[in-house]
Every structure is written in C-alpha cells, then in structure tokens.
Symmetry: D2
C-alpha cells in the first residue's frame, strides 16, 4: 500500500493517490472528515483553521462506498485558494505579490530557496507547509478502516505541552477520551496548566511543542521482519513518524529510558497460558523488528512552532540584510494536529506492512489470511 501526495498550501487542492488497497473495503467518508476536523482543532490554533473546514472528495477507486482495487484518489480543496488564485495559480499569476524573503528559522525557507533556485521562499513554503498533512490524514483514515476490519486500532494522546508533562500511564481504552479535550490531554489538571502556559506564550508572541504518544492495539505478532534491515517494523514506523513536520525525536516502548536501566528491568519476560503473553511491555510491542502481539507504543517529540509572532532574527535574502522573520501563521501550539497526523502516518505504515505480509486482492481474502495467522 502506497500513498503519494501532492498539493500546495494555498493551491487548488491537496491530492492523494493510494495504491494497493484490496477491493470490497467499505469506505466511511464521514469518519475521514471527522479526522480532518480533528486535525484542525485544538487549543492554541490560529486563524486559518477557521477558514478551512476540510472535507475529502473521493475521485476514484471507490464505487457505491466499496473500494474497487484500483488506485483510490482524493482531493481536499483549499477553500482559501479563491483569495490566493492570482498569486499562486499554475497558469499565469502575479508572483510579485506576497513574496517571502525574510526566511524563517526552523523552516525549509532558506535551504529550499538555494536548492530549488528561487528568490521567493513562497515557492518553497507552499509545499513544505504542514498543510500537506491533511492528505496524510485522509490516507491514514482509510488505512485505519482497513486495519479496523482486521480488529486493529490506532489511538493516542498528548503527553506533554512545553514543560507540562502528564506522568500517568493509561489503558488503551481510555485514550479515545483525549479527543474530547481541548489539548488532547487526559489529565484534566495538567491540561489546565498547559492551557495557561499557551496563554502566556501567546501573550509573549512565543510558541510551544510537546510530546505525543501513539498506541496500536490488536495487531497480531510477526509484522515487520528480522531478516533484512529495511523491513524492520520499528525502522518503518519511526521513519514514518520522523517524516512529519516538526518532529525531532521518536521512541518505542521505554525508549530513551531503556538506555538507563539494567537489562533485568527492561526485557519483558514471557509466559504461557494457552497463548504466550507478557506482564510488562517495555519493548513497546516490537522485538527483533517485528510486532510481538503486545500493544505498540510510540512517542514523538514535536518542536515548538517555528513561526513566532514576536519574530526571530533572520536575513532578508533579497538584500542579505538583517531582518525579523515573517509571521506567516499564528498558532501557538499544534500538538493536537500532530497527534492526529501521527496516528494517521502510523496507521498507514502499518496497513502497508499488513498488506505486504498478507497480499490479497479483495477484503475476503485479506480477512481469511489474517485470521489464519498463528
């Protein structure tokens, strides 16, 4: 299963094509739209999320709500395009407007301008922007529906915002509550603390990041492989997570904590009671590059939003003079968006692993094969 995306931030639409879906998978468009709305939600978001109410339009690959086995293509229109058409249209437009030359630290602006031989960072940021992740949320939502048919679920929550950390560990069943919260946190007190932090940062023109935990429940053992390095499940999932804008770190299970402890406190002993099981899950569900049947546990670190209202020091590339970086967006934090995006990319990467192991051209075949796995 492969997702190819296209589309600029203020262009006509984001476009995606998913190849490798089996036929006869029922597609729930409302659910995709719910995840698109969740990507736009969260305390600390700025103005744009109110302009766009993203919805998906499926263009091909589905008939009467069932997949055909052909490439599923979709669009998420940029409603803002009407306001930007004369500045960014594919056909002739006025590229002198809305130029961005005060390149923003923490963004692709400066490197992109040099690499792609541009003088206006708009030609870079339009694609480098995290708006692209709307297409990945669509892909992930469809992957989720494929996984759900097999009994596999992906969920998550925000573990910290800035230096406000929720220290608790939660059962998988509780995670879905997070989406009812303004910051997708599960500890109400910590969440109120985090909101205060964001209010303060907003007043100061500053921004915050956070830590997000993603979990997968119900996946059988043996996905990924120990036989070639490029097929290891942890490599693939963590690579997917690191491909999301603003993510600077990722860990599985105990993660960095595991590096500090002695082996006897880390490894999950094995028991048998009709089936094999563990009493602990420090491995985060992955051993030897394969799912081991326990919950998959991943955590990612998101850096603070790099566009600050107070403006960072930079250079204007039109004259190489010192300048204050432009404030293209005004979010203070986007941890909720990141949480949804990370669920999405994990779901998609997993669905790809599942479909590689199972093969199968139609959902009947896929289900039969999944159920036959030991």
């Amino acid at each position: 299963m492969k997702l190819t995306t296209a589309g600029e931030s203020h262009g006509k639409a984001l476009i995606g094509i998913i190849e490798g879906l089996p036929s006869n998978l029922k597609i729930d468009v409302e659910e995709i739209n719910r995840y698109l709305a969740l990507r736009q939600s969260g305390y600390g978001r700025g103005g744009r999320q109110k302009i766009e109410k993203d919805t998906v339009e499926i263009i091909s690959g589905v008939r009467n709500l069932l997949t055909l086995g052909s490439p599923l293509s979709f669009a998420v229109r940029n409603k803002d395009y009407e306001n930007w058409r004369e500045v960014v249209a594919p056909e002739g437009c006025d590229t002198q407007q809305r130029q961005l030359t005060k390149v923003r630290p923490g963004h692709a602006d400066l490197t992109g301008v040099l690499k792609y031989d541009q003088t206006d960072a708009r030609n870079i940021l339009e694609r480098a922007s995290a708006r692209e992740t709307a297409a990945r949320v669509v892909g992930g939502s469809i992957a989720r529906q494929y996984l759900k048919a097999l009994g596999v679920e992906v969920s998550g929550y925000v573990k910290s915002v800035g230096n406000v950390v929720d220290p608790h560990i939660y059962a998988f069943e509780r995670l879905s509550e997070a989406k009812n919260h303004l910051l997708f946190m599960l500890d109400g007190e910590k969440e109120r603390e985090a909101e205060k932090l964001l209010d303060k940062l907003k007043a100061e023109g500053d921004t915050a990041g956070g830590i997000i935990e993603i979990r997968v429940k119900g996946l059988k053992s043996g996905f990924g492989s120990c036989m070639q390095y490029s097929t290891k499940l942890d490599a693939i999932l963590c690579g997917a997570i690191m491909s999301v804008q603003a993510i600077k770190g990722v860990e599985v299970g105990l993660g960095f904590e595991a590096a500090k402890k002695e082996g006897s406190k880390v490894h999950d002993e094995i028991y048998y009671d009709g089936g094999y099981f563990r009493k602990t899950n420090n491995a985060g569900g992955i051993e030897g590059g394969m799912s081991n049947g326990e919950e998959i546990v991943l955590r990612a670190a998101m850096k603070p939003i790099p566009t600050l209202m107070k403006g960072l020091n930079t250079v204007d590339i039109s004259n190489n003079q010192p300048a204050k970086a432009a404030g293209e967006r005004s979010d203070v934090a986007a941890v909720c968006a990141a949480e949804i995006i990370l669920e999405s990319v994990v779901a998609f990467a997993l669905a790809d692993m599942v479909s590689q192991r199972l093969g199968g051209d139609n959902m009947g075949e896929v289900l039969e094969r999944y159920n036959a796995l030991r």
Copy 2:
C-alpha cells in the same frame, strides 16, 4: 546507492552487495578493516569477539583498488563456521544439535518461530543476530570513503552507559578521540564510572545499554527534500538508525528537549556574512527535511543487551513449560559496537541521498557536481 546484506551469525560468511557506486572511487581496505575491528572492541564484550577478527574480502566491483561502477560485493567470513558447520550448513546437517527453545525475551526468537513456522529458534536468531551488522559496517565504511572525497565526515561517541551520562558538548574535532577509549566516552571520569557499573552488572549477570551521539560535518545544504514526505532527510536517517538491533529511540538536534522549550529558545536564527550561518544548532542540521549546512546531530538510545547471564523468565516452546532463557552471548554492554554501527548506517544513508541528488557515473562527475552546488 543500495546495500543488500545476507548471512547468518554462524554461517559461512556475511555477504553484501552495494549497487550504485560511481566508478573511480579509491577503496581503502585497511580502513574498512579498522572499522570492523572497532565494531568488535569495547569494554564489556564477551568471548566471541576474540574468536572472530573480522576482515573484509572484496569479491567484485573493484579492480586495482578503484571501483568499476558495477555492484561491489564483499564477504566477511565467519571464522566460527568451522565449529558450527555440522549444525548449520546449507547442505544436510544435524538440526537436533544446539537447538534453542527457551526463547529469549527482547529477541526475535518467539515471534520469529511463529512467523517462519519453526520449532527451533536457532533458525531465527542466526539471522536476527546483530552479527549481521558487520556487513553494514563494511557498507558504511565504503560510503564514508565516498563522502570523504566530497569533504563530508561522520563521527560519534558514547554519551551514556546505563545511568552514567556525560553531560558535556564537544566540538566535532574532539570526537575522534573517543575511539581511543575503552568505552568510546570522552569524559575520562565518567568513563571510569561506567566501567565500574559494567563490572558490577557483570558480577550480577545483568546488562546495560546507553546513548550514542552521531555527528556529520561538512555536508552542504539541500540534501533530502521538503517536497514529498518519503524523501525527508530526518525520516531517512532516523529510519536507518532504528533499523539497528537494540535501538529504541532516536532524536535530531535538541530532540526530546525541544518539546519542552519555548520556540524563541529553540529555533536557530539566521545571519549573513558573505554566506548564511547560525550561532546555534538546536535543529541538529536538519530543517524542512533537508540538511541546512550545519553539523548533523543525531542521538540514539540502545536498550540493555537482552541476553542475560542470570537468565530471564521465559517459556520452553518445545513443551510450553516455564524456563530460564538461554545465554547465547555473554556481553554486558555493546555500546561501542553500536556506536560504530550507527556511524556506518548514517554514512550509508547519507551517501545514498548524496548520490540521488548528484547522480553521476564516475567520481569526476560526482565531484564536479558537488562542488557546483550553492
């Protein structure tokens, strides 16, 4: 550039094929062997590292020390094979000997046995074993020689062993000293503390992990891309790192720390003085999925070795009765090996990114194109 590896831990040899090398790259076999030796070094290693003194044999792709542009294949013989031939030979052998059925927590054993329909975990562990990384060290060492021709260097050191952490930050030039130390640490006092920890753990039959920092100096900006998620440099480098046995977390630049700080303390402001530069490098050299011209800084968390002399609780899969896990190896820690392996996989992944951007069939062309980059 692509590295495909093969070979079991006690089989005849590890085999690797590198595709995509340009012609006329000078190969220094002694240097490859030095890295192979370093992979086997380090305080806390057990007996096997003394049996094998790994050396590489180049089989194809090189003539008179220069690459031909054809696939470079190589072997690293397993000297131990003579002792194992009758147990593991491809042709008929005695598979009743040296069976491993007390599957080891933290390893591929149990999952692998179910996935590949085996009754003896030897059929899994022989390939899942980290011995496979010797082939990746060869690949990485050759990639390093390609990078070095362009002025790019990869180095690193051990930042922590168990709970003993070196808190200092070092200039790139100092990192090479680490290889003169028994534990590849740069702070002598901390290293002695770490050695004591390992002695204590060894006495207790326990093990340790650690944190490794890898750095890349001299890479121009613009490697990787902000244009499609699958081409982002951080996703690719971190995926490569997570594909190494025992690695449970990875971060770029400030990494998880970045999630705690406000934006104004994280993003690296931009200055101009004939060229663009930064005074800080919290981004770890990667912005927008591309190298930004600063040093690339990566850190990885290695879990403690999962084979403990004191034996973890597990199940004997031949009868599903409780058992103590087998002690196939007796290392207490393998942080030095991991340090070399991580340098190697980072070097290889980078060389691949470089060769994708530059193309080029011979080193003259490659150099000319690299030098022409802005």
Copy 3:
C-alpha cells in the same frame, strides 16, 4: 521521476501525480492538450471520442507556468461522468444498472471479476479501460517538455494497419508529418488502402490492430546501464511499452529481423571523425543496455480491438450460460491513439532515466549537467 495514475473510465476524472520534476521547468499546457486531442483522433474511432474533448487541469506543482519542484498533480475530467454518476459514483449509487456480465474475450473482464471478487465486470473494466492512458499522455507530454529542454525529441508513426504495411524507412524529420494524416501513416497510398480495410472491417463488425514505430532523437550516449540488469535501457523502455493496453510485442532496431541475419550484417561498425559515429543503426540506438548516441528505434505490435460489434462467443457469468460478448465500445482501430500513448510512455520512461543519471533539483542544474556529459 515517477508517474502515479488513478481514475476510472466513467468516473469523475483521471488523476495523475508526477514526482521528481526539477523546479523552473516551463510548462506548456496547450501542448499537453494537443497531445490529448491527438490521442482521441484517428480514422476508425467510435462515438466516445466525440463526447470527451480532453483537457488537462494542473492542480499543483506549478506556479505561474513554472514547476516548483513539488509533485505535479493534474486532472483530466471525464465529461461523460454526468451521464454515469448514478451508476458509478463513489458515494451511494445504483450498481444494478449497466452491469456487464457477458465478459469480453481479450479484456480483463473475466480474470478481474475472479481476482477482485466481483459479480459485475463493470467494477473491473472501468479501470482496466485504455481511457487510463489519457493520464499517461499528460505525463508523457510533460516529460517531453523536460526532454526538449535538453534537445531530445520523441516522435513516431503508424507502420501498419492490419495486413497493410508501409515498407519504407523514414528520416526522423519526416515523422512529424504523420500527425497530419488520418491514420498517422506516412505513405499516402498505403494509408488509403488501410482506410479501405477499416471500412470493410467496420461493415463486418470486426476490428484491426497495427504496428507503431517510435523514435527518439538527440539523446546522448550512456543512459541506462550495463551494470545491473534492472537498469538496462531496453528493458525499461520495452517494459513501458508492454504496459500499454493491447500491445503484444515490442522490438528494438532490427528486432526480430536481427535473429535471422548473420552478425556481420547486423552490428553497427564504429567510425571516428572528431566524434564516434556509425553508418548503420541496426541496434536501434541501444547497445549493452545503454543509449549509444544514435536514434532510438522501437516498434510495437498492437492487437485488434477486442470489443467487436459482431460479438464474440463468451459466457454470461451471472448464470454461466453461453452468450455474445457485450459491445462496450465501437472503435474499429485505435492505432493513432496507441501511437500517441507509446510516444508518451517512452518519453516518460526516458525522462526518468535522464533524471536518475543527472539528479538535479532545478532546470539550471539539469541543463548544466547534461551539457557536461561526454
């Protein structure tokens, strides 16, 4: 460079995404539309080609007519969709209408129904249909513009229709005339003979195929590689050609004739006169899996259209009784469409080979590197 396509024959649109285009390539939309129109032209076409006047809509990857280096996505709307919406829409629709159960020999119908677990071959043919090639013509037209910037041109003509064969050999410069002819043939007399044949076949409810020759002029030597089988230029170009609907054979240069002749009559001797050159081109411009600097010459055999007005014997899969195959389309021949499609897939595959060898992020870099090749 990679082209991913999606879209069903009577669905909303065909969608394509091209990844790997450098920035700053000027896109000529009118030229793309001209090739789309040519794909729909030609003597012997049925009714649908009059309903649809295909035009491309670029959605992303281009601003002010210049590529951005980001994925270029595009749509070709199916104007016929309005008439089919209630039968094929992704959302709820009436799948009882317009079922096709009298599966057509020579099509994907029967195999597809079994593979994708369907009862209605409409769920197969909508994607298997050659309408999908409109997206490949767009991709090929853009690839052509990339190649043209380097001085490389792709052209071709129809060499035979049914048993009417044009025996002449033409200079590259004459090939473009073919598009002014109703059947894209260059010999006027043979073309009139072919038209008569098609009139006769139409009266009989029968169909014809033909042979198409594609040529490439101006490509420097050394594209493709002799170093790994998967990188050979002939393998890649012929694979691309065989991926086009209805193509049953392909040959390079002398092709099947070469099998009959002695070596001394086949191999193109080499001369030098300031540069290397040949007096013959029996190799069709490819030796050792690489372009040798001569014109690339490819010929493909197209089978007759498998949907016959007179109806072939088949089975109705709804009851497994004998039946006459449905006549979904009424073209007698589609050799002109095939000619344009083959030019397109050859252009795209070549552009991919070129971009792999040159790398390069922007057209300035690409041009400089191409010009520097020996």
Copy 4:
C-alpha cells in the same frame, strides 16, 4: 522476491542475493547445477565453456536444505580467475595487461568507456558480459523450485537459428525434450539444417542469433494486475526478457502476428464447463495485464553474437585510428544459453509476482493461500 547480482566475468565469483523467499522451501542444489550446465551447453559454443564447469555454492539463507526466510546468498566461482588474478584483482594488479581498446560494435564497450570515464574497455566488459547471467540462472532455478511447489512449470525451446525456422507448434509436455538436443530445437531436420548453418558461419568467422519460445504451465489466473500500469504481468515479463544480453525483441502469444489479423481471428472466446476455458490461446495467457489461466507463451529474438572472429570495423580508442574489433570470445551462436537464461528470468519474475500476491512467510502459508485462489 528480489534478486541482486554482482560479479565480473573474470573476477573471483558471481554473487547473488535473493530476498523474500519464504521459509521451509526445499532447495535442490543438483537441479540448480543442472541448469548451470545447460547454460554452458549447445552447439556452436567456444572454448570458455569448457574451462568453467559452473556450480553454485549456497552461502546463506538455507540450513539443512530448507530455506530460513532470510536472504539466500550464493556464489558461482570463476575458475578462470586464477589465470586472470594479476590483471583484474580488486587489490593492486597490472591494468596494463590485456587492455581492450579496439571497442567491439554491438557491445557496451564504447558507451561504457565514456560513461564510466575509462580508457580500457576491459573495465566495462567484465561486468557487461553475459557471464553475469549465470547468477540469474541460479536465481531462476530457485524461483522454479518455489513455483514447482505450487504446480507451476517453466519450459521452452529454440524456435529458430538464423534463418532456419521450426514452423511447428508443440504441446507443453514435449518441450522438455529440447534439452536433449544439441541446439534445443525440437524438429530434428531443422536442427540439422541449423547445425550446418553454424558450421558455415564458423568457417566464415561469422555468427548467428535466433528465436526462443518460453512457456509457463499451471499458473492460476489473476497474477499481475489491470489496476496500475506498473503492475501488468506482460510489462514485467517482457521487461525481464529484454534485460537479457542480446535480446532485441519480445512478444506474447500471437505477438506481431496479432497486429495483422482481424479481431475475430485473434481473441480467445470463452466457454464454461464447470470452469472457464478457451479453445485457442492467441493471447498467450495474458489479458488485461493478468494471467488468464491459460499457458503463458513468450517469444524473444536474440541478435547474432557481436564478437566475430573475422573482426568488424571499429576504432581503437587509445588513438582513435581505424581498427578491427577484438575477438574476446569465439562462440558462433549461444541460443541454448539464451533459452536457459530466458526460462530463468521468466521464472524469477513470475515467482516475484506470485509472492507479492500471496505474501506469506513460510511455504505452508504460501501453499494454503495459492490453493485457496479461485
């Protein structure tokens, strides 16, 4: 399933790695060696085939004759290496010896020298040589064993040598006889005629090519796909065939003949008698890019061997003066070798298609899934 090969013609060994084999496939080494011997057989071969008696050495991926699911690596030693060591060794050697500068028409020599920046075509031909195909015969032989476990068989014969054509059509069961013949032809009279032709050409210092037919029996329908152009079975099989040295054309079923006939004489009508079947197989077993359950029929055209004893006109690249091309080899025809190689590449490409559709980690799973296909 993927085969990566390495190795030069006079180097130490050819090396191959097969990734993606399931575990528990029984490997018959003797059978692999039989195919290697067949590759070296045939009337019209020169001296080298007597020096080398190729045998495979399996290095990894197999234990006690059963695959492990890990990469299967192998070597085919070049016995001639001992005579060439001082000229081609990876380590220091004497590159002044045995230089080839009189570049041979029809080979990679001239293009390769320019592309890889060499002055001696030995650095090109050592890899471009068809000796590389020995590794593909090993890969294909193992793929065959995988296919055979599913009841799928690949066979073939030589249909023509030069202008001597066997006009008959044979049942699949008769094809295996061909390997008992000196030229792998099935018509004894035609074969004697072909031998005479080769004798005459040998006396004249000239060479011949021929046409080879490859057939596949027992493959269920639905391999390949009609849903994306890159997944079509005909594209993949024909691409594989065109990747073999000296092949200049390929066709499926009626192939080029189909272009001449009317549709009603070409398409294979469908009947039902408890199962679907055809009375003809003009499609050669592939419709809509998928196997349709009939025999797969492929034919390839091999050009005459380009190294002629009588020497073609060429240029000496050391001084750009006219010269007679060097006679590195002295075969008159190699149609038998090509026949075995083409069986091998078809088998491997098919096995890959099968493993993509079925997935599966062990042979039990693979068989169960194959048997469950409709």
